[in-house]
Symmetry: C2
Subunit: 126 residues, 2 copies
């Protein structure tokens, strides 16, 4: 048995990886940091604090989370630290999202379930 985590073709390890990456992007301030880093040719030090408009300690904490996920890398250039994106880090997330997006082509959201006669009384669930 190659991988004991495998279930129905997907493994829980990968799910945890993807979730961790998504979590890193799951806050508006962090998304804005990413976008900011994306808008620059190189990377920036504490300008991020000005850009985001939160306290320095708060931004530092967001950067810590981003670094922990691997999405952002910091290079020390005393007294500054130089932040930049590591695009390769979000590969697992990118792959899954790519799969979902690809499904969009073949499969309109309406087509459904294994009980074909189900279409009779269709309501939207909320």
């Amino acid at each position: 048995m190659p991988d004991p985590d495998m279930t129905h073709g997907f493994d829980t390890r990968n799910a945890a990886q993807v979730a961790a990456l998504a979590k890193a992007m799951a806050h508006p301030a962090r998304v804005r940091i990413i976008e900011f880093l994306l808008s620059r040719p190189g990377c920036i030090g504490g300008d991020i604090v000005d850009e985001i408009g939160l306290a320095q300690s708060t931004v530092s904490e967001h950067l810590r989370i981003l670094k922990e996920s691997g999405l952002v890398v910091g290079t020390i250039e005393r007294p500054r630290i130089c932040y930049s994106l590591d695009p390769g880090a979000l590969e697992p997330l990118h792959a899954l999202i790519g799969l979902i997006a690809a499904r969009g082509a073949q499969n309109d959201a309406a087509s459904c379930c294994y009980t074909p006669q189900a279409y009779a009384g269709k309501e939207s669930a909320e």
Copy 2:
């Protein structure tokens, strides 16, 4: 001024959208639900509960979050509910991740900052 939320080329509204989508994917159980939905031609009712291995109420809560994000749609087929992915929903997230991934081609993670002489004493920040 076309959009008061614009800051340095990105708007906070979009950041919130992206963050909300990422948040929906920011839990291993929800990622596994997505992968499970992806592994099926159509969609499934309460089989998700068996697949995930958490209590029914917990899975229901995760499904609520996924529906709220638009990523998953539920169609009522009494007494079941038929869940399926709506690939279009994660467009904003997909777009941003696409941008980041594209950057990977031109820009290796090492190249950095606007102070070119910085490369002298390079350490890794943790």
